[in-house]
Symmetry: C2
Subunit: 501 residues, 2 copies
């Protein structure tokens, strides 16, 4: 029953020798950072079972299912034997991973520098003495933030609120927006008796009737406030109460971009006009903030141009609305900039930028001191973040900087994009709407149909590559920041092999 | 300017010699577990600055304030030099801690067994290879849960959903309740076109108009769904949009209980009748679930009798409403039972029980398989918990069990309660409504006014004890599970000294 397909994969790599050569030259022949971290990283996938998940994965998963909802499982992971860009499953299969725990793993599996951070005395203390950070901050929390999360802050941002997940990063940003807008009109402290009484009954004027505007196909999380702004798929939202908050269209661009310049500009102008019409159809102040992703990731890797986002920034300023940029999935380097919204070259930075995933920590950046409510205990909870996560984020940031991983990811992405362009020319029905040019490895394309996409993901796993989808029929690439031309070639070989069949 | 008050504290301990003796006998002369873990635990507080926070705390906090909202800070903590029940601040003051990071630290600061867990290979892997647990579960996650979080499950609970904070534990429980109730009436899979379309606009019927009922003065978190059920203080809720969900009265008991048996029974009957009236004033099915704390902790340590909670369980069954018990603050031993709701002796367990704080991990327990939605990806997010937290929770559970810490906490609590009763007799205006008899160390009392309470907390810090408030004028005790009669005596001595002045 068992077979070893490593020879097959090896043949494929040889078949793509020219691509491999191009890859090497595209990154200037630089020394591999992946090889520095991971001298024993596999050169190619190894499959030891007929299919993935194999029998051990399935048995372990069946058992786990008796106590935990694991029905979304692709396979059971053996993290101890995962190395760099390669994930090992419980059966011993080793797959090139371009999904990376849903866009999370920044520096590969078992990164030795992260291991140093994870086994440091400050980590042990953070884990066993978990602080209520706002009431009893630890003496070194400022330094941990300054050397990591804050050193990585986007241009124009000087403060951070630390949270625990992307959802609560966004929701605490929404809370900041609501309190900020209320303070502008009423003052921050002088609550009326009517406000104090009505708020305890969840009624206005104490409870706000202001709103957060989000965009069609946007994804901002799964808790009640964040889910009210999530517009990706019905299954994410069904049967859950939601706030009656406004939604605006997000551009649907045509590809290749250079063949649809005029149509795409019109589409973005249409969406900006629709946005302003929605804004002006509400009373002034009714929309406290908008939230928008640089690339709508769960919603199908939908891009828009810097001009679109500049237009949004201008309109939010014009109408006195805060702009929250959700970089939960796009942040920390994969786009070829540390923050994807740096691609826009805004003169006027967003009001808040949220982060999570690749930083293994969560929260939001801001600069306006008024986004910190005028009283303590309003933006507050027991933990207010987690130093153990901030320590890991610090180590991630320092490694990214030391090794120029953002620039390297941009280079790898350029190479990978060009190769995929060639494949798309060869298989125009199977690779449609390729997107992510000059956007690092944050690359995606559409398949003919949802069924074709799901088949492709499965076949890619059978060819030794763990890869994810998003939207209805999109394949999204979300490799580590250590994904280099050699890894890209493994991916390309497997893809061509699957497409050819 | 600096003074050392340790001699003062020492004198106070001598002054309470009889109490100390009683304490020793009340725990059967058992060997101190605190001393086993912490041979170098201080015997009493040491203050080296004129007041707390001292100058170093203030300077560090000022700096932290430039990047992080720390205006709620009591003082800056030096976790490295905190030991057992004693917290050290940045100035070197060592305070007996009966607040414990807002009811969180279960086994004292720098517990050596938790250190072993925090420095284990599985912890390092969990930290540097953070999994998307529902898609790529790690091979040992079932075992980590089974040996820890699940071994600790309340009676009648066999499954767990792991989350990241108390707020998201409650909100994911609410989501489970909404999906469960919708599936009962509609079926789980057959969404209508109208549902599929309306839900994307946050409108019914796809978005639910069902509700979660909570109780006056209850606290269930700070995100949008949980905050809609939080009814503790206006400042927690002001300016934040909230769902128009129902609220019911919670009993306001009179103390001492044995002098107000009839009135308290009437008060609880009144609240149960009001609850049923609210339920029947809504259409059947409109209230998906209720959420209730065994003791309303943030709201002022408000207790109710087991009969009240049995009544709630009966009424929820009668009206087909789910019952969620929020044990975020009460869970994991402090009440003298592992779960506080075990005091009720329910024949029919709650539908869900949420946890966080003392477990250093978060989530909810349940048993009905239908509370796991019929499709994957409905109760879902990127991380679905955090193995690093589950590993710590496992170590906590195992130490609690090995050392009978729940039983010991019950014994210490009985001793402490009796001593506080004596103090209350001596200072009846200053210690009012003492509560928490036979409820472990989960003890509280009221002061004359909010001002008196706040003064008391400050003066206690000046006497070397870190102690917290809740509600309007309540002092709450939240020591570790290693708080023994000797520690209780330090607390009692400091309290008597402060009350006497």
């Amino acid at each position: 029953m068992l077979r070893n397909v490593s020879r097959l994969a090896k043949r494929s790599v040889r078949g793509h020798a020219s691509a491999a050569h191009a890859g090497s030259s595209s990154t200037g022949g630089a020394v591999s950072v992946a090889a520095k971290y991971f001298p024993n990283e596999p050169k190619q996938p190894t499959l030891v079972t007929e299919s993935v998940p194999g029998p051990k994965s399935m048995a372990i998963n069946d058992h786990l299912g008796t106590v935990f909802d694991n029905r979304a499982a692709y396979f059971v992971t053996d993290f101890y034997n995962s190395v760099g860009n390669y994930i090992s499953d419980a059966d011993g299969n080793k797959l090139l991973d371009v999904y990376c725990q849903i866009s999370s793993i920044p520096l590969g599996y078992n990164n030795p520098e992260l291991f140093v951070a994870a086994t440091s005395p400050e980590m042990a203390s953070a884990l066993i003495n978990r602080p209520a950070l706002a009431c009893f901050p630890q003496a070194d929390y400022a330094k941990i933030l300054e050397d990591g999360i804050l050193a990585a802050a986007p241009p124009g941002m000087s403060k951070v609120w630390t949270a625990l997940s992307g959802s609560c990063a966004n929701e605490t940003a929404y809370k900041a927006a609501f309190m900020f807008q209320a303070a502008k009109s009423r003052g921050a402290m002088d609550f009326s008796d009517e406000e104090l009484q009505s708020v305890m009954l969840n009624k206005t004027p104490g409870a706000s009737d202001k709103t957060i505007l989000s965009f069609e196909k946007g994804f901002h999380g799964r808790l009640f406030g964040s889910l009210s702004t999530t517009r990706s798929k019905a299954i994410h939202k069904m049967d859950i109460p939601a706030f009656d908050w406004p939604v605006a269209p997000f551009p649907e661009l045509k590809y290749p971009l250079n063949e649809h310049v005029r149509e795409n500009a019109e589409e973005e102008a249409r969406c900006l006009a629709a946005f302003e019409e929605i804004v002006t159809s509400h009373p002034p102040g009714h929309i406290a903030a908008i939230i928008v992703e640089p690339v709508q990731s769960e919603g199908g890797d939908n891009h828009a141009s810097p001009e679109f986002f500049k237009g949004l920034r201008q309109l939010t300023r014009k109408h006195d609305i805060l702009m929250i940029v959700d970089e939960v999935q796009t942040g920390v380097g994969a786009s070829g900039k540390f923050w994807a919204h740096e691609h826009w070259n805004l003169q006027d930075p967003p009001d808040m930028v949220t982060f999570s995933k690749k930083f293994q920590a969560a929260g939001f950046y801001f600069s306006d001191p008024a986004l910190q409510p005028s009283q303590p205990y309003r933006q507050f909870n027991t933990w207010c973040g987690d130093p153990s996560k901030a320590i890991i984020a610090k180590a991630i940031y320092q490694e990214v900087e030391k090794n120029n991983l953002v620039e390297r990811t941009a280079q790898t992405g350029d190479y990978l994009y060009k190769q995929l362009q060639s494949l798309a020319t060869k298989y125009p029905n199977k690779i449609r709407n390729l997107r992510g040019e000059n956007f690092g490895t944050f690359i995606a394309w559409d398949c003919e149909s949802p069924t074709h996409r799901n088949e492709l993901l499965l076949k890619m796993r059978g060819a030794g590559v763990n890869i994810g989808g998003c939207g209805e029929r999109t394949v999204r690439l979300r490799p580590t920041l250590l994904f280099e031309a050699t890894h890209a070639n493994v991916l390309l070989n497997a893809l061509e092999q699957v497409l050819a069949n």
